[in-house]
C-alpha cells in the first residue's frame, strides 16, 4: 500500500512502486480527467501538479509521489467555482475534441502560478502539450485572458 495525497485527500492505493502515477489515478482511483496520450512523457495529456509543478504523470512512478500533494483536473475547482484558467478556457471556446485539454489546463495553471503575466515566448516554452485538433490559437488566447483576471 502506498499513500498519496490527491486533491487534498489522502488515498491508500494498492500499487507497485514503479507503477506510473497516471494509471493509479485513472485505473485505481477511477479519476479519468487525467488522460493517457503517449506513455512516454511527450504529449502532456497526463499532466498533473505535484507540489505545484506541472508533471507528466505517465512517466512518474507512484512510489515517488508518496507524501506529495497531487492536484488533478478534478481538484482545480474551489467548491462549485471553476478555476480562472478553466473559466478562460470556456470563454475562449478552446477545446475541440477536448481530450488533451485537461492536460493543457494543468500546464497553464502551473505556468501562471510561476509567471502571472506570461509573454508569447513564455507560453511557447511552457505549453509543449500536443493538441491534435490544433486549438493552439484559442489556448494561447485563453492563457492571456486568464492572466488578466
Amino acid at each position: 500500500m502506498i499513500t498519496i495525497n490527491v486533491n487534498g485527500t489522502p488515498q491508500q492505493v494498492e500499487a507497485e512502486e514503479g507503477m506510473p502515477l497516471l494509471w493509479v489515478i485513472r485505473d485505481v482511483l477511477n479519476m479519468t480527467g487525467t488522460k493517457y496520450g503517449c506513455g512516454v512523457g511527450s504529449c502532456g495529456a497526463c499532466t498533473v501538479l505535484i507540489d505545484g509543478a506541472a508533471t507528466r504523470s505517465c512517466s512518474f512512478p507512484v512510489g515517488l509521489a508518496a507524501n506529495k500533494n497531487i492536484t488533478t483536473i478534478e481538484g482545480l475547482k474551489t467548491g462549485d467555482n471553476l478555476h480562472k484558467v478553466q473559466q478562460a478556457w470556456i470563454e475562449a471556446q478552446a477545446p475541440q475534441c477536448g481530450f488533451c485539454q485537461t492536460g493543457q489546463i494543468m500546464t497553464a495553471v502551473a505556468l501562471l502560478n510561476e509567471k502571472p503575466q506570461p509573454t508569447d515566448a513564455d507560453i511557447d516554452a511552457a505549453m509543449t502539450n500536443i493538441c491534435r485538433c490544433g486549438a493552439y490559437t484559442q489556448i494561447r488566447a485563453a492563457i492571456h485572458a486568464a492572466a488578466k483576471v
Binding site: 475534441c97 477536448g98 505549453m127
Partner: protein, 738 residues
C-alpha cells in the same frame, strides 16, 4: 447541383416517406423513432426534436461530436426555424438505431455529387458501395453534418415543428394561423392569448408534420451565424467529459493488445507463462493475428504483454519496404497502363505540339491519424447480448459490425456513445479495434476495455497512403496553360480532389491503383492532402516557368470560376500580397475546393538557423456558401490547417520489413504551440450550396508553405515532409512572393 425544392420532392418520390428532410424515411421508421425518443413529460413532435412540458427543446443529433461542434451547430439550425429560445435548447445524441439512420440524407447529398465517400467504405454490410445500401448509415465524416442533416433535416424539422405548434394554437384559440406569432418559444396572438411551446406541445403532436414548410430568410436569422457557445465545452474543461477510454464499469477488466507487426501476419504461437506469472493478470487471449493480455488495470496488462514473445507468421509482406513501395509506384506510372479519371480536350496532342513543357515528380509518405485518444473499445458479452462503449463516427455501422463479429442479431447489440478524442477518419469505417474488443469479450467474463497503446495505435493504423505524382503541362507564349496532365498513384475520394478549377482547355488525370499492401483509411480531407500538394505546387512551378506572379498567374486561369477568384483575391488582400513581407520572410499561395468549401490560403515563412522552415502566419479566405457558427468554423479551418501543417513539416510513416518504423510522438512529431502560426480566417458567404468545415482547411496548406519556401530559397521541394530538406534563405526581402 440539386435545388432544395427538387430535393424535397425527390426524397418523397424515392423513399415514399414524409416530405421534410428528417422524414426521408418510411412511415414505420418514424413511429419507431418516436418510441425511442419519447420520454416522460415530453411529446415527440418529429424524429429530431422533442419539446418538454417544461418548455425545453431537445434536439436529437444523429452525428458524433469530435470537436467540430456538430452537437451545437445542428440544434442551432433547428432552433432557428423553430423560433426557440436558445437558453431552453438542449442536445441529445441519437441512439445507434435504424430509426436515426441518416443514409437517406446521404443519398440525397450524393445525388448531387455522384460519389460514395470513403468514410463508409469498410463499414460492414456496405462494402459493395452501392448507393441503395446506404440507407443504413449513421455517419459523421466527409464534412457532411451541416451539409446534409443540417440543411435538409434540422431546418425542415424546426420549421415543421413550429408549423404544428401554430396550427394547434390556432385551433385552440379559434383564430387564423396567420395571426399567430411564434417567437422565443412562445405563441402569441393580438387578442392577448398566449402559450409557451411546452403548453401547446401535446396538442401540436396531433398534427402530421407538413409536406413542405417555408423556411426563414437568412436576413431574419438570430441564432445561425452567431458564435454560439458549444454544449460540449464545460465537461471538457473540468474533466467530467467521458471518452471511450474513460469508461469504468463494475468488474471491468483491462486488455492491451499487440497485433502482428507485419501487415497481414498471423499469430503462430505464444508462451503465456511470463504474463500469467505477473500480478493482476487474468488471461492471455490469442486471436488469429494478435495477442492480448487481460488484467485488473491497463498498466499491468501493458507490462505483462511486453513480457510475452509472440511468434508470428509474417506472411507475404515481410520484405516490403519504403523503397520497394516507391519503386512499385514509379514502375506503375512508367508502365503507363493508367485509369483515366477525367479528361477535357486532347491533352496528349496539346503536349506533343507544345513549345514549352514543364514536368515535375512529387512524393508524399504514409501518414497515421494519431488521434489524441488512442483507439479503444469496451465490450461486454453476456447471455447472447452485447454492449459496446466507445467513440464511433458511424454508430449504426459499428453496431452492425459488432453484431457480425459476435455472431448475434443486431437487435441484441446496444451501443453507448462516448465523447471522441479525435476522429479525423480513424473512427469511421476502420473498426478493427471494435472487432478486436468483441473478439476478446467473447473470451472474458464481465466487461473488458481494450486499449491500443500509443505504439499500437501508430503501427496498426489505416494510413493516408504514400503516393507519387508525375505532372506535365504546356505553356504558351502568353503564359497560359494549354495542357495539364496529372498522373499519380492511389485514388480514393472525394472526386473533386483531382479537379482543378482553372480554365485549362486540355486536361486529364490518370492513375494507377493498388501499388502497395499497406492498410488504407480516410485521413482528414482524404485525397486532398496529397492532391492539394501536387496540384498547387505544380501550379506554382508553372507560374515560375511563365515568369508570372503566383497569385496573378492563378487569377488569370480562374476565368470560369468567379467564387474561386473572389476567394483568391480576398486572401491576397488579407495577406497584403503586393507588399513585401519583412526581411527574411516570404509568402506562398494556394487554393483548393474541398467538400464544397473553397479555401484560398497564404502562408508566410522564414528559415531558421537549423535550416528548417518556420511558418509565422497563415491567412485563409473561405467560401463555404453559408456559415452556421463562425466560431467553430474558424476553429475548424485553423485546426485543419494545423493538421495539414504537421503533415507538411514532419509527418512521415515509413515501412521497413513490412512494418511501421515510427512508434510514438517523439519519432512522429507534431506541430505544437511554438510552431503554430498565427492564422487569420475570413468568410465569404456567397450563398452557394453549403460546404463542409472539418476538412477544407487541411487541403491547401502544404502547397502554400512549400510555395513560400520556394519564394524564399529558390529551392523547390517536391517531397514531403519539408523537414527532410535543409534550407538556406536566398531572398532577403523585397519581391519575395515567388
Amino acid at each position: 447541383m440539386v435545388s432544395r425544392r427538387l430535393v424535397i420532392f425527390g426524397g418523397v418520390a424515392a423513399a415514399g416517406g414524409l416530405a421534410v428532410g428528417y422524414a426521408l424515411m418510411p412511415f414505420t421508421t418514424v413511429d419507431r423513432a418516436k418510441g425511442l425518443i419519447g420520454k416522460e413529460g415530453s411529446t415527440p413532435l418529429s424524429a429530431w426534436v422533442r419539446i418538454g412540458t417544461d418548455n425545453s427543446v431537445t434536439v436529437i443529433v444523429p452525428h458524433s461530436e469530435m470537436g467540430q461542434g456538430v452537437h451545437t451547430s445542428m440544434p442551432m439550425m433547428l432552433a432557428e426555424e423553430l423560433e426557440a429560445d436558445w437558453s431552453l435548447v438542449r442536445m441529445e445524441q441519437a441512439p445507434a438505431d435504424m430509426a436515426f439512420a441518416n443514409g437517406s440524407l446521404a443519398r440525397e447529398y450524393l445525388r448531387g455529387d455522384m460519389s460514395i465517400p470513403s468514410w463508409m467504405s469498410g463499414t460492414a454490410e456496405f462494402g459493395s458501395r452501392k448507393v441503395a445500401e446506404m440507407m443504413n448509415l449513421q455517419l459523421t465524416g466527409g464534412s457532411t453534418a451541416v451539409r446534409m442533416t443540417g440543411v435538409r433535416g434540422m431546418r425542415m424539422a424546426g420549421a415543421a415543428a413550429k408549423w404544428m405548434l401554430v396550427k394547434a394554437a390556432a385551433a385552440a384559440w379559434g383564430v387564423p394561423e396567420g395571426e399567430i406569432v411564434a417567437k422565443q418559444s412562445k405563441l402569441t396572438h393580438a387578442s392577448g392569448k398566449q402559450a409557451t411551446y411546452g403548453e401547446m406541445a401535446a396538442a401540436a403532436a396531433a398534427y402530421d408534420p407538413p409536406v413542405d414548410v417555408p423556411l426563414k430568410a437568412k436576413k431574419d436569422y438570430t441564432i445561425v451565424g452567431q458564435p454560439v457557445a458549444r454544449f460540449d465545452i464545460p465537461g471538457k474543461v473540468d474533466g467530467s467529459a467521458k471518452y471511450g477510454i474513460d469508461v469504468r464499469l463494475p468488474n471491468m477488466s483491462y486488455a492491451v493488445i499487440a497485433a502482428s507487426p507485419v501487415f497481414g501476419g498471423k499469430l503462430k504461437s505464444v508462451d503465456e507463462k511470463p504474463a500469467m506469472a505477473m500480478r493482476g493478470v487474468k488471461k492471455v487471449v490469442k486471436l488469429p493475428s494478435a495477442v492480448a493480455v487481460v488484467a485488473d488495470n491497463t498498466w499491468r496488462a501493458k507490462e505483462a504483454l511486453a513480457a510475452l514473445s509472440p511468434q508470428w507468421d509474417e506472411g507475404a509482406n515481410a520484405n516490403v519496404s519504403q523503397a520497394s513501395i516507391f519503386a512499385a509506384k514509379e514502375a506503375a506510372l512508367k508502365k503507363g497502363d493508367l485509369t483515366e479519371d477525367h479528361a477535357t480536350g486532347n491533352v496528349d496532342e496539346a503536349l506533343k505540339g507544345a513549345k514549352k513543357v514543364v514536368e515535375a515528380t512529387y512524393r508524399v509518405p504514409f501518414l497515421a491519424h494519431a488521434t489524441m485518444e488512442v483507439v479503444n473499445c469496451t465490450a461486454h458479452l453476456e447471455g447472447g447480448k452485447l454492449q459496446i462503449w466507445g467513440g464511433f463516427q458511424d454508430g449504426l455501422g459499428a453496431k452492425v459490425r459488432a453484431a457480425k463479429e459476435a455472431g448475434i442479431p443486431v437487435d441484441n447489440v446496444t451501443l453507448h456513445h462516448t465523447a471522441m478524442g479525435g476522429g479525423f477518419g480513424r473512427r469511421g469505417g476502420t473498426l478493427d479495434y471494435l472487432d478486436k474488443a468483441v473478439a476478446i469479450a467473447r473470451q472474458v467474463e464481465g466487461p473488458v476495455q481494450v486499449v491500443f497503446t500509443r505504439e499500437e495505435d501508430m503501427t496498426q493504423d489505416f494510413y493516408r497512403h504514400a503516393s507519387m505524382a508525375k505532372m506535365r503541362a504546356a505553356l504558351d507564349d502568353n503564359g497560359k496553360v494549354t495542357a495539364w496532365l496529372h498522373t499519380f498513384t492511389e485514388k480514393h475520394d472525394p472526386p473533386e480532389a483531382l479537379r482543378v478549377n482553372y480554365d485549362f482547355a486540355n486536361q486529364a488525370a490518370r492513375y494507377a491503383s493498388n501499388t502497395n499492401p499497406i492498410p488504407w483509411g480516410p485521413w482528414r480531407s482524404v485525397d486532398h492532402t496529397q492532391q492539394g500538394f501536387f496540384i498547387e505546387t505544380f501550379m506554382d512551378e508553372l507560374a515560375a516557368a511563365a515568369g508570372k506572379d503566383p497569385f496573378e498567374f492563378r487569377r488569370a486561369h480562374l476565368t470560369g470560376a468567379p467564387r474561386h477568384k473572389a476567394a483568391l483575391e480576398l486572401v491576397a488582400q488579407m495577406a497584403n500580397w503586393s507588399t513585401p513581407p519583412e526581411q527574411g520572410r516570404a509568402r506562398g499561395i494556394a487554393i483548393r475546393d474541398a467538400f464544397g468549401t473553397i479555401v484560398a490560403q497564404v502562408a508566410e515563412v522564414s528559415v531558421g538557423t537549423d535550416g528548417k522552415a518556420r511558418v509565422h502566419k497563415v491567412w485563409s479566405a473561405v467560401d463555404p456558401g453559408e456559415v452556421v457558427n463562425p466560431a467553430t468554423f474558424t476553429a475548424q479551418i485553423q485546426g485543419g490547417a494545423i493538421y495539414g501543417l504537421t503533415a507538411a513539416l514532419y509527418g512521415e510513416i515509413t515501412i521497413d520489413k513490412g512494418r511501421v518504423v515510427q512508434q510514438n510522438f517523439p519519432d512522429y512529431e507534431m506541430v505544437r504551440m511554438a510552431q503554430a502560426p498565427e492564422h487569420e480566417v475570413r468568410f465569404i458567404e456567397s450563398g452557394a450550396r453549403t460546404g463542409g468545415a472539418g476538412e477544407p482547411g487541411t487541403a491547401p496548406i502544404s502547397a502554400a508553405v512549400g510555395n513560400a519556401i520556394y519564394a524564399l530559397t529558390k529551392k523547390r521541394i517536391r517531397e514531403l515532409p519539408f523537414s527532410k530538406a535543409t534550407l538556406t534563405a536566398t531572398t532577403g526581402s523585397g519581391v519575395a512572393n515567388g
